[in-house]
Symmetry: C2
Subunit: 337 residues, 2 copies
Amino acid sequence: MAWEGIRADPDDVVVTVGSQMALDLVTRIYCDPGDVVLAEGPSYVGALGSFAAYQARVVHVAMDAHGLVPSLLRAALETVRPRPKFLYTVPTFHNPAGVTLSVERRAEVLAICRGYGVAVVEDNPYGLLGFSGHTYPALRSLDRDVVYLGSFSKTFAAGLRVGWALVPPAVRDRLVLAAESATLCPPSFTQMLVSRYLAAHDWRSQVKTYTEAYRERRDAMLRALETYLPPGCTWNVPDGGFYVWLTVPEGVDTKAMLPRAVTARVAYASGTGFYADGLGSRQLRLSYCYPSPERITEGVRRLAGVLAAELDVLRTFGNPARPAIGRGPQAPSPSTP
Amino acid sequence: MAWEGIRADPDDVVVTVGSQMALDLVTRIYCDPGDVVLAEGPSYVGALGSFAAYQARVVHVAMDAHGLVPSLLRAALETVRPRPKFLYTVPTFHNPAGVTLSVERRAEVLAICRGYGVAVVEDNPYGLLGFSGHTYPALRSLDRDVVYLGSFSKTFAAGLRVGWALVPPAVRDRLVLAAESATLCPPSFTQMLVSRYLAAHDWRSQVKTYTEAYRERRDAMLRALETYLPPGCTWNVPDGGFYVWLTVPEGVDTKAMLPRAVTARVAYASGTGFYADGLGSRQLRLSYCYPSPERITEGVRRLAGVLAAELDVLRTFGNPARPAIGRGPQAPSPSTP
């Protein structure tokens, strides 16, 4: 697969039960209790779960519209002790933030980590799901020491749970051993399904079809957000992947609001789940991958109603929400690599 | 499934990627590095792998023809420190020893563990594969606090990797959390296959068909062992499951002999893999589950040739093998529960 620039030897691939299992095993190999992992803030909730399972401490590095901020990464590596074991990153179409690490920053992030002797774990389930008709060079395409996690869940079928890790030879043997003790092997049946699918079907066209559907749904979500949301909300414009990361007006607690949203028959992932350090109470993640455009529109309309009621309550009880003046999408992530 | 006497609430079942994953997660939940696990000697090699992955120390408790010896279990619980976290046991059609824990001993083993406050993990992939037309009461059927591991790999299809843990409510929530961080969830596709198979097919008849094939293969193996093996070899007569556990004449090292066996185009699992403490060099495991009776016979004939050559070399180089006088099957495990 040259779309993202990766050249790999089949011997360096370890198939896993979804990339979650690869992430879990990589954490098992690298981390003892008390060790530190760097991750974007916010970061993928399933990764935070694996890090917690091995009692690793997560230090977040903030992102802007161009992804992970290199100067903040360098500052973290200077100051955090014990020295982090690895940087966990979703550079392309980030979950949950929806942003993409710019091409310029990719080499910089790798150089910084190399300089501090810190491994890089690149989680890339969304890389082929870009809306601009191009892909970004994977970090692994720039540095063969990167531990790369791939998945068929977003490009073929989530229900098969087939993922893989592409790892340097020094890591591979330990990963194979850990995988054997974890599940003996992934189901051969699902691997055979994937293998036959890739060999016999025009999977690239299928990915294109999926991506077109996702773009249509993203557009529906963005239109609905602009139409319905009250002032004081900001969000990103994702260039691929599944997620819009929404910041609500000050005073609203997205975790506390969730039960009221569910009562109004709309759900989201509250932002606190994506931070290991308690941040995220003003953020929430919206996913547009599955519902139809009509249902997305209706969902955002309901969410806007819940938010408006929340703001009413805040005003009534003397805790003014002080919405920011502006409203609307933030600067989009760069649309050309 | 009342065949083995278990009554279970669906809420207490956690589906896993094979029972290996359940075993791995149970170990993760119960054990910190340096903790002790009790296991039969010999014990399932995949279990020893999981225990090692979590840096748990294994203390073996010996078996006789009726399975785990209760007095030795009590002695271990009296003397081993730190106190073991759990007893890992394959009570029925043991892998690799092929023996079955007698019904009388089942209650005794449970009472001993309860008395010392030590959990019991029952691994039961072979329980329905008995050759005498009956099943044994699962330990879980006698004590609802037993952590029970089940599998469809031996009764339906190994390539699906669908297993499960049936656990007490106090363990369930921790197991679900650990399972989510390990793989998010097992493949829904393979679970749906199993579900449809159980609902739509006469799976009990299928198990009976499998079992008849296994019995035929066991018989072929036993006949070949009696026909071809040199004096000084002893083995069990398994009443179900897949394995014959063979003890070779003194002086023969089964691990050292394995490359010569492979050269003669026959393979086995050397006994040392089934012990965490270096024992097993005079033992090896033979599996009769997959090859045809004809190939089993030919395999044993080749193995006998390799053994004879090994004994020749030992005699020639003045390291006499001193074979025991007798040869043949040991007392079989009890044929009625």
